[in-house]
């Protein structure tokens, strides 16, 4: 009287599907998307990074692409440029975001809204358009706005983005690109810090005030420590963004003059899509991946705290 095993199995499948089918159907399109456009390419790219592409197709070259990059002065300069760019922009962005949010926070709602909007506005437009203006401001000619400002102080004219001569550990062109980034308001950071500040209990500040703490003491001993978790988050997203800088470099300098402002992602784009060297471009991308992952972990460890309030 027992049903045959196949019928029983069919019944189980049926019951499984009745219970779980809708869930699977609802996630299926997204899963398919992530599989096809992220996870498959990830593995594929890893394989590509061990191959060399020539006119006759690809050949396996083992670790040659990676070893070649480690000895390649162009890659080394791109890596150094990226690190210098990232260290300075992230440090300034995090600091500026924290200070601006702290200054905005006590204002009346109307003013707060105004400043948050004003600071966020440049962030809604493509970096391409803003970078185009910065390229125009920082051009080497005497009619460039930056040089005009310098001339008011009797200085200049400087070459800015077209001057590859060494300056302060890097070169003038790279510092000019960094300057343009630093003068861009870290809008996302301001919004995130603002949200975090709204969560700090008012009593802490009041208690500090009764003990005679001034504005700086309150900032230093209450705001900064309590914002540590959000600082970690902001620092990580900005570090990733800075390491992946592309639009700004593409528009302002095209990596030049020479390789003065070449960065990793710009190099990946050039290697892969200007020169069609898929293997080396993939190896470059994986090195970038490794560095970003390492830095994220290190930052997480360094800034991790168990502050609760």
């Amino acid at each position: 009287m027992a049903a045959s095993p196949s019928v029983r199995r069919a019944g189980r499948v049926r019951r499984f599907w009745d219970r779980n089918g809708p869930g699977y159907l609802f996630v299926a399109p997204s899963l398919l998307f992530f599989g096809v456009f992220i996870f498959v390419p990830l593995g594929w790219s890893f394989l590509l990074s061990f191959q060399e592409f020539g006119f006759r197709g690809s050949t396996w070259v083992g670790l040659d692409n990676y070893l070649g990059l480690l000895g390649d002065p162009i890659f080394r300069q791109a890596a150094i440029n990226t690190v210098i760019y990232s260290v300075f922009t992230v440090a300034v962005w995090v600091l500026v975001a924290m200070v601006l949010a702290t200054l905005i926070h006590p204002l009346p709602p109307r003013l707060r809204t105004f400043f948050r909007a004003a600071y966020y506005l440049p962030a809604v437009t493509s970096a391409v358009f803003i970078a185009l203006v910065w390229k125009w401001i920082l051009n080497a000619n005497p009619w460039g706005l930056a040089n005009h400002v310098l001339s008011l102080f009797g200085a200049g004219p400087l070459g800015f983005i077209s001057d590859p001569s060494p300056f302060a550990g890097a070169n003038v062109a790279l510092w000019s690109v960094i300057l343009s980034s630093v003068l861009t308001i870290p809008a996302v950071g301001v919004v995130l810090y603002s949200a975090a500040l709204a969560g700090i209990p008012q009593e802490l500040y009041e208690a500090a005030e009764t003990e005679g703490a001034g504005a700086w003491a309150k900032f230093r001993h209450i705001t900064v420590p309590l914002l540590k978790p959000i600082t970690l988050y902001v620092a990580i997203i900005y570090t990733i963004a800075a390491f992946e800088v592309f639009d700004r470099v593409y528009v302002m300098t095209g990596g030049g003059p020479g390789y003065a402002t070449n960065t990793i992602v710009y190099l990946i784009w050039r290697t892969g899509f200007r020169f069609g060297d898929y293997g080396v471009a993939s190896a470059q991308a994986f090195l970038l991946f490794a560095v970003i992952a390492t830095i994220s972990v290190l930052q997480f460890r360094a800034l991790r705290s168990d502050v609760e309030y």
């Binding site: 609802f26 992220i38 390419p41 926070h105 400043f115 809604v124 125009w136 005009h148 008012q202 991946f289």
Partner: protein
Amino acid sequence: MAVRDPLTDPAIEPRPAAGVPLLPEAVPAPAGTGGTGSGRRQSPRQRLASLAVLVPVAIIGLFPFYWMVTTALTPKAAAIRVPPTLFPLDATLDNLTSLFAQAPVLLWAFNSLLIATAIMVGHVILDSMAGYAFARKRFPGKALFFTLIVGSLMIPVHVTLVPRFILITNLGLNDHLLGVIAPSIADVFGIFLMRQFMQSLPTELEEAARVDGANEWQVFWRIVMPLSRPAVATVGIFSFVGAWNAFLWPLIVLSDRNLLTLPVGVALLQQEFSSNIGLQMAGAIVGAVPMILLFLLFQRHFLEGVRVGALKG
């Protein structure tokens, strides 16, 4: 400006439940609980000191727009005068008219609009479906799938560029608008946000609909989606702006001059018309203004989206 503060305005819809995991645990969502946080007493002197910093910073941040407009309105010859023209007294629209005459700007705008709209619709539908499954359904593998999707954020897009490009080329979508759209049709941010929001919705309406004989799709589409309007709006706007501003991938896929998006087209203007800065600035205006208008219209959704998970950097 008739903008509302998303963090304090009680009129704004309920937001996703607190404790958004992408944000550190210790940062509570600033719910609209009376004590708006602005209650801190500030002497007029302190306020003045704050404004003495905030106002100049705002001016610096917005200055590129001023300079963009000024240069675009300055006659070609005057743009390279020493000293530079700080106010466009002899303003002219010549740069804009010659831009429209010499570059297919309207076509670029149309391409951008088409791509951004398609990606936005894709995100709203696919992200909501996945978010719904993760919020409401129970099925083996759910936790794994969610971890994989959120974990994919760790992967820099640059690692996948080359295989993606080969894939798109093999599909015959190279130099095709679909080649830009397809690899962006779903995203983590939207899935995450929709899941958060849907988890905070009460389940009674869904159960009632099921009792009334609604099928799974009807429950999702007729009940859950309308209730999720605020989150859908945030996902939609963020997706639209992100797609409109995207640069690297469209630059790789598109090469036909008539198929470019605005950022790619405007970036190429500087190579094509390298000596005509006014025309370049006019291009930048055409590219930037639509997003500025969108921002002024939907400001609270932007700031809300950033707060929930600033994945767009």
